[in-house]
Symmetry: D2
Amino acid sequence: MILCHMVDNKNMRDDSHRKPRLQKIGVFTSGGDAPGMNAAIRAVTRAAIANKLKVVGIRRGYQGMIEGDFIPLRSADVSGIIQLGGTVLRTARSNEFRTFEGRQKAWLQLQKAGIDAVVVIGGDGSFTGALTMSQEFNISFVGIPATIDNDMYGTDYTIGYETALNSVVCAVDKIRDTAVSHGRIFIVEVMGREAGLLALNGGIACGAEVILIPESKEQHDELKRFLDKGYRHKERSGIIMVAEGDEPGGALKIAEQVRREHPDLDVRVSILGHIQRGGSPTANDRVNATRMGVAAVDALLDDQKSIMIGIDDGKIVQVPFNKAVKLNHSIDGDLLDIQRMLNI
Amino acid sequence: MILCHMVDNKNMRDDSHRKPRLQKIGVFTSGGDAPGMNAAIRAVTRAAIANKLKVVGIRRGYQGMIEGDFIPLRSADVSGIIQLGGTVLRTARSNEFRTFEGRQKAWLQLQKAGIDAVVVIGGDGSFTGALTMSQEFNISFVGIPATIDNDMYGTDYTIGYETALNSVVCAVDKIRDTAVSHGRIFIVEVMGREAGLLALNGGIACGAEVILIPESKEQHDELKRFLDKGYRHKERSGIIMVAEGDEPGGALKIAEQVRREHPDLDVRVSILGHIQRGGSPTANDRVNATRMGVAAVDALLDDQKSIMIGIDDGKIVQVPFNKAVKLNHSIDGDLLDIQRMLNI
Amino acid sequence: MILCHMVDNKNMRDDSHRKPRLQKIGVFTSGGDAPGMNAAIRAVTRAAIANKLKVVGIRRGYQGMIEGDFIPLRSADVSGIIQLGGTVLRTARSNEFRTFEGRQKAWLQLQKAGIDAVVVIGGDGSFTGALTMSQEFNISFVGIPATIDNDMYGTDYTIGYETALNSVVCAVDKIRDTAVSHGRIFIVEVMGREAGLLALNGGIACGAEVILIPESKEQHDELKRFLDKGYRHKERSGIIMVAEGDEPGGALKIAEQVRREHPDLDVRVSILGHIQRGGSPTANDRVNATRMGVAAVDALLDDQKSIMIGIDDGKIVQVPFNKAVKLNHSIDGDLLDIQRMLNI
Amino acid sequence: MILCHMVDNKNMRDDSHRKPRLQKIGVFTSGGDAPGMNAAIRAVTRAAIANKLKVVGIRRGYQGMIEGDFIPLRSADVSGIIQLGGTVLRTARSNEFRTFEGRQKAWLQLQKAGIDAVVVIGGDGSFTGALTMSQEFNISFVGIPATIDNDMYGTDYTIGYETALNSVVCAVDKIRDTAVSHGRIFIVEVMGREAGLLALNGGIACGAEVILIPESKEQHDELKRFLDKGYRHKERSGIIMVAEGDEPGGALKIAEQVRREHPDLDVRVSILGHIQRGGSPTANDRVNATRMGVAAVDALLDDQKSIMIGIDDGKIVQVPFNKAVKLNHSIDGDLLDIQRMLNI
């Protein structure tokens, strides 16, 4: 069974064979905001216009779809947004959309606005919603993965992850200044309730002394080892990276335990929180968002539905929504080995 | 009574009239680390060497002084540090120094190392320690104010404050991306246990909707007003800046209260913590640290003691340690007025 | 004669005594763009609205005034711009405004739009234009100084200078990485045709080995000294900062000369150019732009005309346009002395 | 023929089967400096020490090898360098190494120091030198690709490219502020004498209006089209990205031509130059440099020689020096199509 298939963007430019069925598409962002969403909105809008489609921006996710909170998007409307964090179309949670009645309202709004197909920019929850709706009503969705957790099956890459990773690294570099100056241990909590990618790669990039991630329970022995014998000299400092979801309570709980067992140590906690989520996207987040935005329009023009655009080994692929579920990239065990080896 | 007097740096270059009494000086950092401390260490070291003095770096503050943790500093040793956060001489707390016995040990170590005078880079607590020691033993101290709180009497400027302020602004700009995207209220806690300068100026610079600082209790009415009638539309977001010490519990406690009174609002907390303290210093923090470092050596060459170097209206001044106590710059009421006026 | 006088912002809030003459003001940016201009536009707009005035944005400077390129500004229109570089009202040169006919057209446009008074955000050239026009026609101008050169008489501070300074420092920090890695000399050209402030303070902040500025010709001897004897060791690198206008040809010409006299040296040139001009403004640039924007509206409400708002020793002052000419802040000779002393 | 083969890092940890032949390795950086080189030096050093090897740092590239400019590297010596730009081991050109006599001297120095094998961090020229020397003398080299041009056959990734790309994007974002504010066209020249990757991806990421790269001559028609009809409205601004080597003379020459043909346009040039080369490496540059550093030591322990470590589809591979020549990654034509489509 083939889960995803590579696609040739060239088709889009030679679209003589296409039926002119598609006339107006919608685009919206859903779930947590991620840097690069605006670059994707811009690419979807302009690629659609270049292909003679009309574009409607749906504001505040599925909730805005239900309420008919729509705005027309012209080329100039997406000018100067490629470098902005957040999402100009905003995003929101919608409990109403979880009901059939809610989805029906949403469909009626799309009908009323003449929207033939929709590009949804978000995570696996957003795609599940799209799949459900497209099975109940006659509307096509194509998805673009955008989440700072990078935890989607079928794509090496989700929009926003790389920017978040660099925000983590930049913040920990600053914290290291104080850790070294005072000979302190900092327990730094980063986002990632079920996925430790940000903590793992952020920890490697910052030379963290210990990395605690939900995917590997052995790391707690590492922490013990570090504290017991590794941390003896009065000048030595340390950064312990913790993924948000490693333990309920996270960094604060671990700090409590460390202080109990090692009352002599000077231990501090830093919870990076929402500074990981905003900010101007990195070059790759912008380029990949742009490529995926163009590919999403291309897929709609090719009469595709219920697929997510992904990137695999640098190339654009299409993955059925059904397969594009939240699935942690198996953590590269080598990286943990490397971290342990270099922490000497 | 004149608290501080302006000084003419020119004297330093024409030092023919000086007795060659001073031969070796020490320099150390004390208290919390602040960006720009390294620029000050570099300036002290090179200004001293340019004046034919030997320089000893005292590591880990007063504790290192007690332990004789000294290293010679040559010009090359301070090369390439002007742009680094933290302090290459490290810093530490010392309970031992609070005792006479501790200070005696420290003095004996200085004696043994042939150190005639010392430049102390830190906050008011560090200067109080220096004053006590210089009154008990025959040793001169000159201070350079370095604290991100900018809460010293006698100087417009303490090293590190401006860098911290820009770190706050940079972080809140990112948080704003998410706040706007989701229509959320963020309560952002910044450092400043007794001084609200970081929260006030950071709040103005980020266009915060409400600023809560220890210096003004009326601001809580502002918060109430903002929540009660200002915050009605579903799209509106808000940043509420809180100085760390505004209330015991700070941002978390305020969030709890807001959620209790306004259960419909989507409220999040972000505690910026130690990312405010590190990082490469801003241009002004480097330039002023450099100027104060040179002026501190100049003061020692002029046989001064127990004074802090300060900057007043852009000019170097000297302030007796006795006067250079922690004293909050009275908050500029106009700034609060301005913030209220612009938040419409 | 008093050139400037301090003002009490408090008046603005107690404006019961004011005649309700003023009803609609214009605001525009003129000359080179400077980071913080948007913060000033926001403050002017909201302070005016808070005082029951209507606000019109004049686009593209005096040229837009002549063409009647006006847009109404409401509070929401200036939301989310405080952190943006450049100017949302744009700027332009206008030869037509230099003629009486041009200024007459501009005045008729203002008349037609019902604009009673105007806030001009720019440099000395912009203020001269405003002064001329206000003397010919019945219209009041108040100015806010914004130029990255910081070369205005009557104010310690012009909007954009500090951001530009930090952009210089950030760029030179990067160049230093390569200079040190290769043992190279870099000649770095920064903006400042007649004023060396950016080069001087940027050079101090980056630990530049030599600083060449138009205000001090002796510095060329410094360069010679540095190259002749200071630069001997194969590992030593150097940063030579040059203000754009130090010599016609600037950095390239100096590099040519250095290569001719020292063919053994590995010399490179970096012209920082327009990366000095853009970018998100620093905290101070935002706060001061905000304060001056509010003060400008206050001045108009106080029936002032032909004055520039300035900041002197941290306080708001008003300076007649006639006095607010381009005038280089006399370069602090101490800074050059310090630079020479520390470069050992 | 298999050019490269994937390797399993696990082997390194189970090295019971290895002969303890290797006892001391050297490591050096060569060619232009690239951000992330220090992360690679750190990883090589610590991975070697973790495998009971001694490590010698060879300073200033092949020239330092000839001169015996060696320093022992212990774990602590590479502490705190992972985040630094440039290279702490410095780099240099060596004409002497191009001669047999020079290489013989270098080999004798390695012999004398007891160095059994060497990790070379640099570009294709550095690897060619290593290959030549290893064929003449009994010494093994393993290479790590580090060049901001990302133009090596056999690896998707060279250290430093991603950081340079983000520096380009950050600089152009600033320039865009001024371009938009003034309605100006900026011609921005980025590095890449033979490879347009930085210009292409940087241009996509910044929404450049035209991208001129050596790999596609058709782009000059694009420029003509843009200037002829695209650029009509007085408010429209534009960024034209030019790879350094697109034409002799680069951006300045193009600007001259544009000004000649379109004297009405306000055209400026910005040559980004060496700010593209320095700075703190991005997260990926640090992580990949770390992975490749560990893999290089692993390869030496596996008795490999004359191979470059590469990354292919996210996995570590080994590529013979003979194949790892400078070869431009064929430019992704889709990206140029995308750029043209979105520039509407």
